[in-house]
């Protein structure tokens, strides 16, 4: 199939960017969106132009590197799908496709479609862990049974890949879905209880410091999340935060 691509090009964080038009032909439905960009890049190199820079690594939907705002939607039109798992069979011959980086103050553009998401790392560093040494000197893994429903729920929250689609989807560029997923994982497990108060307060504080917006419960984050992270996480972090504020 033939497509017209309008792609955001920006040399670096300090220069202004703009949309550039690239016609492309010979696209097969079995190609992933990123493989389509590979084809474009090979053509650009051939012509002596600079290839389009974008983040990607595992290309199987788990590392969370890939991003891209495709036709205004994080990771494109398919639900529960990362850009690397989005296949060209979902586009039609003759389509014009607009490709931009994730947009948020807390995600500055590095180059073209690549953004800096280190703010997510810093939120996790503020308390997204259980303070236990890795010496192995701990109790037997089966000494503390965990109710299956809670374990499964904790797992579901923990499957967040940290891609930032929730932020890119949100009118306020809020990171509540991301932060709440991490807080929830630990809130649901007995191992996380001891530090629950400090954790939620510190992580929320760091999230605000990074310049993410407030949550106004539009739910766009959940709709665009490639891993189906539930809005219940946000309800849970609000409860945890209230409780911690009252205690703290």
């Amino acid at each position: 199939m033939k497509l017209t691509l309008k792609i955001w090009r920006q040399k670096n964080a300090d220069t202004k960017g703009s949309l550039q038009t690239y016609p492309i032909d010979g696209i097969d439905g079995d190609m992933s969106f990123l493989e389509m960009l590979d084809v474009l890049n090979e053509e650009l190199i051939e012509k002596g132009e600079e290839p389009v820079v974008f983040d990607h690594d595992c290309r199987e939907g788990i590392c969370g590197s890939c991003s891209l705002q495709i036709d205004g939607r994080p990771h494109g039109p398919e639900r529960h799908t990362t850009t690397c798992q989005l296949h060209m069979r979902h586009f039609n011959d003759g389509d014009t496709v607009i490709v931009e980086p994730f947009r948020a103050t807390a995600f500055p553009v590095i180059k073209d479609l690549m953004v800096d998401r280190s703010s997510f790392d810093r939120i996790q560093q503020a308390g997204g862990y259980v303070s236990v040494n890795t010496s192995g000197n701990t109790i037997d893994a089966n000494a503390t049974p965990v109710e299956k429903d809670n374990a499964d729920e904790a797992f579901n929250s923990a499957t967040c890949i940290g891609c930032g689609a929730c932020v890119a989807a949100c009118v306020n560029a809020s990171a509540m879905l991301f932060t709440s997923a991490k807080v929830s994982q630990f809130a649901l497990l007995p191992q996380g209880e001891v530090e629950a108060t400090r954790r939620v307060l510190n992580m929320v504080e760091q999230m605000d410091k990074e310049g993410f917006g407030a949550c106004s419960n539009t739910g766009a984050c959940f709709i665009e999340c490639p891993k189906d992270i539930s809005l219940e996480n946000i309800a849970r972090i609000n409860r945890e935060y209230l409780k911690a504020s009252a205690e703290g």
């Binding site: 097969d28 190199i45 595992c58 939907g61 192995g136 701990t138």
Partner: protein
């Protein structure tokens, strides 16, 4: 020929590790504050090592090319992690895990290392649970297990099909705790481009900041390489796009021996190649072989009709199908080890029974599992006479619960529903058992340069069993390296900070810069990917699932020619002092072009078949691998000597005192 000293401690097998820990030097906590350690790579092996070293009190610097340590490719591991907990009471023990691993590796791994791995395995699970890793649980609240290939017990712990993700997030969380305490400084989007030696010791690295393009000097008292495997030498593999051999290759060129480069794992259950545009291959977890049955049609006409789309697989009756693994290996069936399953799939496809357009695919079928689980569930719900629809519905729910995310992934990529029609799968490059030679302490032949996880060669012999990579990565990082490195660092308590303005740093930086300049100024016409794809084809066709002397000799010549062409004709756009992914790729492919030749040389010299290394000249009448223990029961460790072709072979003889060496049989 020199004899490599593996430094396996004296004493009975089960006491070696404890004795060793009791006898090695320790560093006093106050002195650890004055010692710096660099860790390159932040996957399970690197992330866990960094966290533990920082907890102990060392100053740690981590380096990864990804934008966050959490994205290292360990994240993509699906099926699970082994541990000899024997929670199922099915007869598991440290010895059995040790035995299975040595046998699975076709008697080409070191007894002492493997036993230690088995010994610490149970503790990994305790540790991870304490960190809040959400493993799968049963209704009673206790941990659940499943089975993996090559073993007869259920010892694999898992978190759906995302076990690697959950374990890596655990290690990343442990790192974050230390970053928050200021004990780890994380250099993300940084790539190590050389090792710096001072007086023969590893004392630092040259790294490139991938965002600004700047070259940086970082010093330390020891350097840990945990940068993963080199499967991407094949271009197409289940590795991440950025996975590379560069860190390992740089230390190899500085004196670290490279062991058994030809031992590559070709994983039997991957999604088949769909076309020339393909950039990577996707694994379908081995855990699927717990419930999926692998087959091709019995008759060639049927295979032909399926290929042409005239016949559906579901239209073939049971006796028209050849469940070839169950037929050839009745005692292990679909759960034979990976090397055996891969070769069997290739054998059927080469014989004309392949089932996709290219003839390079077999079926992985869940219909019987759906039926079996459905009936079980119906009975559990009190329905002793369920209709076929009820059975299918209940059975699908169970399968979805176990493998849901894998089925979804398959459907997204292939556009076919595996609940309704069997999956199509084919072997693909997945893991490399070969790697940098290390002794029992995980130290390479360079003093102060340690290697952990997939980047070393030590535990899996010629074939790795499923769910053992995660186990090894975390064992090395959490429990082994942090002890053994202390023995070396104990001599460094008075050294003080290593200055980076020494001539050795200057020289190393200059060499790195010149090489980058050469790549960027080369006004060639071939893209990096173009050459990488051609390297991959040579590797797959001549150093892939089966190899022979003629093909390997051709591969050596072809790779050498391609390497020359690369340096004459490669074209790298952009400049050095900016974010430039093409330049990053070019440097990595240049290293693959050298490693590839050593790989073929190693495969050519090993005149036997063992594990993942199958030489067509050495097979039984039934097509099974034929080892030559008399002449090849050794680790082949190659010393760099100017060119891959000039590499010097050193042999570490393998000795088996606690296990009887037999022909591996899964029949």
């Amino acid at each position: 020929m020199s004899i490599l000293d593996s430094k396996i401690p004296e004493g009975p097998l089960a006491e070696k590790w404890t004795n060793h820990k009791n006898n090695i030097n320790l560093v006093n906590p106050a002195n650890k504050r004055n010692i710096d350690v660099i860790v390159v790579g932040t996957g399970l092996a690197g992330g866990s090592a960094a966290a533990t070293l920082a907890e102990l009190g060392y100053n740690v610097k981590t380096f990864c090319y990804q934008d966050s340590p959490r994205r290292a490719h360990s994240i993509a591991a699906q099926g699970g992690i082994n541990a000899s907990k024997n929670y199922q009471g099915d007869g598991d023990s440290d010895y059995r895990l040790f035995y299975d691993t040595v046998k699975g590796g076709d008697y080409r791994s070191r007894e002492g290392n493997v036993y230690r791995l088995a010994e610490v395995s149970a503790n990994i699970i305790d540790q991870c649970v304490a960190q809040g890793v959400p493993f799968a649980r049963e209704y009673g609240g206790l941990l659940d297990n499943r089975s993996f290939g090559g073993v007869l017990v259920s010892r694999t712990f898992y978190a759906k099909g995302q076990t690697g993700q959950q374990l890596l997030l655990g290690a990343y969380a442990a790192m974050n705790r230390q970053i928050n305490r200021g004990k780890i400084e994380a250099f993300n989007r940084h790539e190590m481009l050389d090792l710096v030696l001072i007086d023969g010791k590893a004392r630092g690295i040259i790294a490139r900041d991938l965002v600004t393009g700047e070259l940086e000097r970082h010093s330390a008292h020891a350097v840990v390489i945990a940068s993963g495997g080199y499967g991407n030498v094949f271009f197409l593999s289940t590795n991440a796009m950025g996975s590379n051999v560069t860190a390992s290759w740089k230390i190899h060129k500085k004196g670290a021996y490279f062991a058994n480069p030809c031992y590559t794992q070709i994983h039997p259950t991957c999604i088949p190649v769909s076309g020339d545009h393909q950039s990577k291959l996707t694994l379908m977890s081995e855990s699927l072989r717990n419930d999926g049955r692998i087959w091709v049609p019995k008759k060639k006409e049927d295979a032909e009709a399926i290929r042409q789309g005239k016949l559906k697989p579901t239209e073939l009756s049971e006796d028209e199908r050849d469940y070839y693994l169950e037929r050839r290996y009745p005692s292990f069936g679909n759960l034979v080890p990976r090397d055996v399953a891969s070769r069997a799939a290739k054998e059927r496809c080469d014989a004309g029974f392949g089932v996709n357009k290219t003839g390079e695919a077999v079926f992985l079928d869940f219909a019987s599992a759906i039926k079996r689980y459905g009936k079980e569930q119906a009975v559990m719900h009190g329905n002793h006479n369920p209709s076929e629809e009820e059975v299918t519905k209940l059975g699908k729910e169970v399968v979805a619960n176990k493998y849901g995310n894998l089925f979804e992934m398959y459907e997204k990529i292939v556009d076919a529903n595996p609940y309704e029609t069997p999956m199509m799968i084919y072997p693909a490059v997945h893991y490399t058992m070969g790697g940098i030679w290390v002794d029992y302490n995980l130290q390479s032949t360079i003093p102060g340069c340690y290697v952990t996880g997939e980047a070393n060669f030590s535990d899996h012999g010629a074939n790795r069993l499923g769910a053992s990579a995660l186990m090894q990565g975390l064992a090395d990082g959490y429990f082994i390296l942090p002890y053994t490195i202390g023995d070396y660092l104990a001599d460094d308590i008075r050294t003080g900070k290593i200055a980076t303005d020494q001539p050795e740093f200057e020289e190393a930086e200059k060499n790195v810069r010149e090489r980058l300049e050469k790549l960027i100024n080369n006004k060639g016409s071939k893209s990096v990917d173009d050459i990488h794809k051609r390297l991959g084809k040579i590797m797959w066709n001549k150093c892939g699932m089966s190899r022979n002397a003629k093909g390997l000799k051709e591969a050596i010549t072809e790779i050498r020619e391609l390497r020359e062409q690369f340096w004459n004709e490669v074209k790298v756009p952009g400049s050095m002092d900016e974010m430039n992914p093409e330049l990053e790729k070019a440097g990595r492919v240049a290293d693959f072009l050298e490693l590839g030749e050593l790989f073929a040389k190693d495969a050519l010299h090993r005149e036997e078949s063992c594990g993942g290394h199958f030489r067509e000249e050495y097979q039984t009448d039934e097509g099974e691998a034929m080892r030559d223990d008399e002449n090849f029961m050794y680790v082949a460790a190659w010393e760099y000597n100017g060119e891959p072709s000039e590499a010097v072979l050193h042999k570490e003889q393998l000795e088996y005192d606690y296990i009887e060496v037999k022909t591996r049989s899964y029949k």
